[in-house]
């Protein structure tokens, strides 16, 4: 394998990774089909088609909903994936997300004087800032005290959750009746940005737009920014170098402590942003429930990052894909299947994507055989 043509192999690695992900997805779906067959054979074929169609089951509105649910997944996926690229495991996205969400809601409710679009832009940046600050603690602990970031992030998740629950109750954003946060003012909700003109459904004369808003555009922009940062800047190169080998980076003159801290902070900022785009929604949108449960969206970022191979652009697609499958699970209930089947399928896809190395080798061998044949024909 190592003796093969170097140039053609490097050109193929991107395609290879993509193909091995596709294989993992197909195997995962086949696994899901077997579960459908076991639970109710007569509907299984219909069921798997519903899953594959995913968001498209609901027409244009369904696609909109899919993008809506993909938005936080992409952002937390970016947060985890970025940290992976720089050698850190950010399992603390949940805490960073919830403190970001809280500060966004608080700012939106209390700073009503903010004019026009600033009323949602400023809370969003406050959330980014606070999410980043929250990640500063594990960052500092890792860089200067040698505390494993996994453990400090787990601790920060719980501290964030209880802290936010406390702060919600003592500030004016608490809706005691529903035991959740109040709705943000309409001007502080993320605007549709024209997406409601594309993704809607029409029942008679009634036009119902989907919930998707410019959050999805913000998420895509964030992914592109992170991609450029990692691949086109010296700063990003230093961060990645520290991830590969901390000692070698220090030897090469990189301030490795600062790099670790910055990686963590940027990851936290992305999770904080995820919290803002989730909760800066209209009154029928999401609210933070005051319960002792960690925000699951933070953990859902991990499979998204893994499926996207931690590549920021790949994460856009894996986030949409996971949301697509979850929408499929929503429609699956009409056939009397349980939506949990989707989580099992996603789990299976992740599991098989762990076999990427084996798949990659198989694909590579296949490719080489194809190309060799071509060479002979030339």
């Amino acid at each position: 394998m190592r003796r093969g043509n170097k140039r053609s192999l490097t050109e193929l690695t991107g395609l290879n990774s993509f193909l091995s992900s596709v294989i993992a997805i197909l195997v995962g779906l086949a696994f899901g089909f077997i579960i459908l067959l076991i639970s109710n054979p007569s509907q299984a074929l219909k069921g798997i088609l519903v899953i594959v169609k995913g968001g498209f089951n609901g027409g244009a509105k369904g696609v909109g909903q899919m993008l809506y649910y993909a938005t936080p997944l992409i952002l937390t996926g970016l947060s985890v994936g970025f940290a992976f690229k720089t050698g850190l495991f950010n399992i603390g996205a949940s805490g960073q997300l919830i403190v970001g969400a809280f500060s966004a809601i608080w700012t939106a409710v209390n700073w009503k004087w903010l004019p026009g679009p600033l009323h949602w832009i400023v809370p969003m940046f406050v959330a980014i800032l606070v999410g980043g600050l929250w990640a500063t603690i594990p960052g500092l602990f890792k860089a200067y005290l040698g505390v494993n970031e996994v453990i400090s992030c787990i601790m920060m998740n719980y501290i964030g959750m209880y802290g936010v629950n406390h702060l919600i109750k003592v500030t004016n954003i608490y809706d005691q009746l529903k035991n959740q946060t109040v709705s943000v003012p309409a001007t502080a909700a993320l605007p549709y940005g024209g997406l409601n003109k594309v993704f809607y459904e029409k029942i008679g004369n009634l036009v119902r737009p989907s919930s998707v808003n410019i959050g999805i555009i913000i998420a895509v922009i964030a992914a592109i920014v992170i991609y450029l940062l990692l691949n086109k800047t010296t700063f990003g190169y230093e961060l990645k170098a520290c991830g590969h080998n901390r000692d070698a980076s220090r030897y090469a003159g990189i301030n490795e402590k600062r790099s670790i801290l910055m990686s963590m902070v940027i990851a936290g900022m992305l999770s904080g942003l995820a919290g803002a785009v989730m909760y800066l929604a209209k009154s029928d949108g999401l609210h933070i429930d005051v319960v002792d449960v960690l925000a699951p969206q933070g953990f859902n970022g991990i499979p998204v990052a893994l499926l996207g191979l931690s590549n920021p652009l790949g994460i856009i697609f894996s986030g949409i894909f996971v949301a697509h499958l979850e929408q499929g699970g929503y429609y699956l209930q009409k056939l009397n299947y349980m939506p949990e089947i989707i989580d099992i399928i996603i789990g299976a896809i992740i599991y098989f994507s762990a076999f990427a190395l084996i798949f990659k080798n198989a694909v590579q061998a296949l490719m080489r055989r194809l190309f060799r044949r071509q060479d002979k024909e030339d």
Binding site: I91, N148, I151, Y158, A354, L357
Partner: protein, 319 residues
């Protein structure tokens, strides 16, 4: 004095599951396989064993049923963990990926099975807690020590202590333990003297699966009357305890007790008059275990004792 007895009894309920699961994680990581799937393994073990109790409680009750459930939990956790072992060892997969996959599959599987197997598609699995030991005969009557350790307890508490002692013995005093540690530190060296690295790592992960599954049961039984496809993040906390305990049995015990004590104070402060009267809101109390752990870590983490080859797939060809 009654307060102290109460605190210690409560602390055991929080600490013992953490201790068992963290010891499980220790076996896996000391053999060189990072096991982030502990949470999922706990859910799987708890699901199988609680479902077993649910079905068998009309026939059996008391500690015989619990002992059988313990076996079910350990076996189911072990079988489930083999998925992780296969990916991590045979397929040389990224161990975070397969661990995450197991964490996703377990709760979904538990909900799916519970709703499929129970009438009306109910998700929670109820069970009768007939396992509490009011007072251990003879030992429970000893002054001070009796109320501290032998009243209002479960056999799982003693099981946890036994597992700790056996773990420490196996790890440091047996051939298997030495080989296990070698595979986690330098698998190439272990292989060069004829140790089968793959087999040892399989054993490490399987032990972690058995203890993880058992820990799931031990966590659910005293703290609830039904199982709802979750162990409340205890698998991740056990991971934290493992790192806090520097991958060493006795330090893991200390870490588990420390965390359990903090958790007990947070959970039962309203029953303690001197804490209740302080003007501190409940959510702040709940934060204490996590903040305290962070602070202790900040002072103790400077030289980490993590197994050197942990998380690195072993490839015989690249020796």
């Amino acid at each position: 004095m009654d307060t102290v007895y109460f605190l210690i009894q409560q602390m055991m309920l929080f600490s013992i599951p953490l201790l068992i699961v963290a010891l499980g994680g220790m076996f896996s990581e000391r053999s060189g396989v990072v096991n982030i799937a502990l949470e999922g393994i706990m859910v799987m073990g708890a699901f199988c064993s609680i479902f077993f109790i649910n079905r068998m409680q009309n026939v059996l009750s008391g500690n015989l049923l619990l002992i059988l459930a313990i076996l079910v939990a350990a076996v189911s956790g072990m079988v489930f963990s083999l998925l992780h072992a296969y990916a991590a060892i045979n397929m040389r997969a990224d161990q975070t990926i397969s661990g995450t996959a197991l964490n996703m599959i377990a709760p979904a599987f538990a909900i799916y099975m519970a709703r499929s197997l129970q009438a009306n598609g109910v998700q929670q699995i109820p069970f009768n807690n007939t396992f509490r030991i009011k007072s251990v005969p003879l030992l429970g009557d000893i002054p001070v020590i009796g109320p501290l350790f032998f009243q209002n307890t479960y056999i799982t508490t003693y099981l946890g202590v036994i597992i700790l002692l056996i773990s420490a013995f196996v790890l440091y005093r047996t051939k298997f333990g030495l080989r296990l540690r070698a595979c986690g530190e330098h698998p190439q060296a272990a292989d060069s003297v004829g140790v089968n690295v793959y087999r040892i790592r399989y054993a490490g992960v399987a032990i972690s699966g058995a203890l993880g599954g058992l820990g799931g049961l031990v966590f659910v039984v005293p703290t609830s009357t039904n199982f709802n496809a979750t162990v409340a993040g205890y698998g991740f906390l056990a991971l934290a305890v493992l790192i806090f305990g520097q991958w060493k049995p006795m330090r893991i015990l200390f870490a588990a007790f420390f965390f359990g004590l903090m958790k007990t104070i947070a959970a039962s402060y309203s029953g303690l008059s001197f804490l209740k009267n302080l003007p501190i809101p409940s959510n702040v109390y709940k934060m204490i275990p996590y903040i305290a752990t962070l602070i202790v870590l900040a002072f103790t983490s400077k030289n980490s004792q993590a197994p050197r080859a942990s998380g690195v797939p072993y490839d015989k060809g690249s020796r």
